[in-house]
Amino acid sequence: MFPPLQDMYRIAPELVACFFGMLIMVVDPFVPRAHKEATANLGLLGALAALASILLMARHPGAAMRGLLFVDSFSVFLHLIIFGAAALVLLASDDYLKREGILQGEFYALVLFATCGMGIMASATELMTVFVGLEISSIASYILACYRRAALKSHESAMKYFLLGSFATAFFLYGVAMVYGATGSTSLAVIRAVAAHSAGHQVLLTLGFGMLFVGMAFKIATAPFQVWTPDVYEGAPTPVTALLASGSKAAAFAVLLRIVFTAFGDASGTWFWIIWTSAALTMVVGNFAAVVQSNIKRMLAYSSIAHAGYLLVAVAAAGAAGESSDAGIAAVLFYLVAYVLMKVGAFTIVSHLGGTGEQRLAIEDYAGLATRQPVTAACLALYMLSLLGLPLTAGFLGKLYIFQAALDARLIWLVVIMALTTVVGAFYYLRVIWVMYFREAQQEWTAAPLTPGVAAVMLLTVVGILALFFLPGPLMTFAMQSAASLR
């Protein structure tokens, strides 16, 4: 039986992304090598169309596909983040692909498929559907990670990502099985109802949650499951790294939030300390390891680990706050938007400055950038200040919301750890600025002029980062609504 039209609307972004992905696969062989921009533009069009179709989805809230998916304010919010990130990544990646000589249609198709999987993760309310979404996005990401076929590092990256990722998904699946064993269902709403009434399977349920958390923690890159991150981020083509650090992470957070607050909402004791410990560990490991990095991609990888820690603080805050968890969840959502803007922006510039074969990735290579390319340097400096969380940037308000939510939940120690590790962050973020501004260039090199795509991404992210500081109201209201829709 064919599902009703309403359901089609509710998965419109995924359908559009898949449609364009397949269209590209079909069309690509017929496009001559010299005109591969055509498929690139088609891919970008697909991402934008998917982004636009979120509007259609938002107009039809409710359960889709017999309760496998659920469209609410929360999933709309996450779709905007995920598809927005994908569009930004695609906008800037033709610059990179052309330079590397690997501009082919399947890159765009794979990104669209991966995004589709992330979208499913964001609205799934049933564990097997989550798993399907996870696999769709993961398999596409594995291929994308080794898309730079000529480079050994890219292969290493993909291999590590694939092996460890397979382990993680296996853990996740095992967790699903245990939760099913304890409650007899994989639907989040049913799990919640059963868990509230029967106390008998508490151990199995806790173990199941632990396994699910391991699976998610791998995707989010939180300690102690973060070890793959620097290697994979370093080796993968930089636009792919941007996608892994932004959309992929946002989708995994969506799943984590749904599992925690929809399915385990009443059993806060079982998962609260797992998240508390992981958050503290992640912030410490991420920030301290980033200090000693000399490769900018590795530094940004550890920085994104640290940020995952900050986000987990907000998750823990939402959990500890009990009934009034909205502030914490809203803080996660707000921070995710800010985080995606900063990370995609930063990786775009790194990809642009990297040059052919990603030869310039050492932070030292940026010496004297401020005099040669003042605009690029200023943008990168702004991303760094925002990642650090200084005022006038979205990063500051994001941290402020997390601090506030966590203090309201009385997680004093976690907040203090977060505050102090943030100061450690000052060291490595400011180092990028000091190399760009305070040092003279060691060897002369000039990056290629900015392509329109890269310039557009820089403009959009910079405007976004500043706008979220001066006018956070609308987004925060939306985030609060989304948080409320989660329980």
């Binding site: 006038l392 000091w434 925060m476």
Partner: protein, 531 residues
Amino acid sequence: MANESYLLSVVTFLPLLGSLGLLALRNDDHVWLRRLALATAVANFVLSLLMLRGFEAGTPGYQLEELRRWISSPAINYHMGVDGLSLWLVILTTFLTPIAMLASWESIRTRVKEFFIMLLVLETGMIGVFLALDLILFFVFWEVMLVPMYFLIGIWGHERRIYAAIKFVLYTMAGSVLMLLAILWLNRISSTFDLPTIQLLLQTGQLRLEHTTELLLFGAFFLAFAIKVPLFPLHTWLPDAHVEAPTAGSVILAGVLLKMGTYGLLRFCLPLFPDAAKQMAPWVAVLAIIGIVYGALVSMVQPDLKKLIAYSSVSHLGFVVLGIFSFHPIAIQGAIYQMLNHGISTGALFLIAGMLYDRRHTHLIKEFGGLATPMPALSAFFLFVSLSSLGLPMLNGFVGEFLILLGTYQVNKLWATWAALGVILAAVYLLWAYQRVAFGEVTIEKNRALPDCSARERLILWPLCVMILWMGIGSPLFLSRTEKASQQVLEQMKRPQMPELANGQGAVPKLQEAPANLKLLQDVHVKIEKK
């Protein structure tokens, strides 16, 4: 009246506007870059003097207030206001900025545009810190100001500039991040970030802080400000930052940035957490006295003129902190006055050190000697400023130090006695340094041909010297406007007695029962809605 109510915003953001104007100019058009920057700074100084006209000296509380809604949840407002405490500090800022620009007129040759942009952005940040009455707004200005200072030290500084710049930022951030947590905690208790509202809640007893909470909050705020002051033993960033910064950076750093620490103590630590402040006062006073004596002793043995002045700041700021923590109206008056004095005198000393550096490219005292012969005018200025800094009667330094010692003596004789030692030591290190630099025979041949003050340098030093003399003999003009503010600080420290608390029977209002829908808060909201 309508245009007057925007005065504070105009004074705060005009420099920022000017820096945007600079962006439009060509990079190599150094002449117009300098002119536009200076014009902006001078215009801002004139505008800030308009505050004096609108300011009524006799009335306590904030004046020329501005209140706008910025973020609704959590309620963060754009709330600015000026009182006797911040009035002169703002004018000091707008006064020193054009002087700092003139001082960098010729010595800054690389990246001229960025330099003046940074100075102007810094000015906006500093003025904002003094005028902001919303805790988050205050914090925003406080942190924003770090960035231009980081660049000023890092780009245009001397050899070890990167180390100094990083150290400056890390120290300040370590302190301020805890202050942010304290601000948020205060908001959790009082449901507002609005400083006057919180103050009123505390003073009327509608809000009470548990003793431990108060101590912790006090500690977080105090740490941030003590690092900025800097109070011994948190002062180690200061000599590095000062020595490595370009002259303009040192002037602003000593003249204004350090005052933000003492300003914070007076604006936040004492009025909001009086019991904790009183409890910790002996410890703070001891640290302040150690700072006074230690700073002076270290100054005495410095071979580097700039480092000598930097350590003298530690000593002088020790006086200010001591004055504040004696909780005596006269001493607090003196502390406010000394903040201004120190800004002018130490600023002038750094300018003179910078002028010597421009000529010889060294700060080492032993490289000079007998300078009075080749450059009598500059030596005369140097002597005059040194005398002001060491507290010679008739000059400004004396008024501040005397008031502090007078007030402190009535509270604790021992503190005052020890602190007075600092006055003597100041005479020793400053006069000795002056003697080695200016008196005697010219020891190094190169120095014989050094040019005396240029017209530009005179233009820089004369206003400062006039202010030094004016503040020395015309102190009522200034003190009449700060008087209410210093009384008000002590007034704000009073808490209503709760009779039922005395016998230990009554319950302290729980923190959770935050007065979320207090009339006061509604008043704030009503005020905003009206606009």
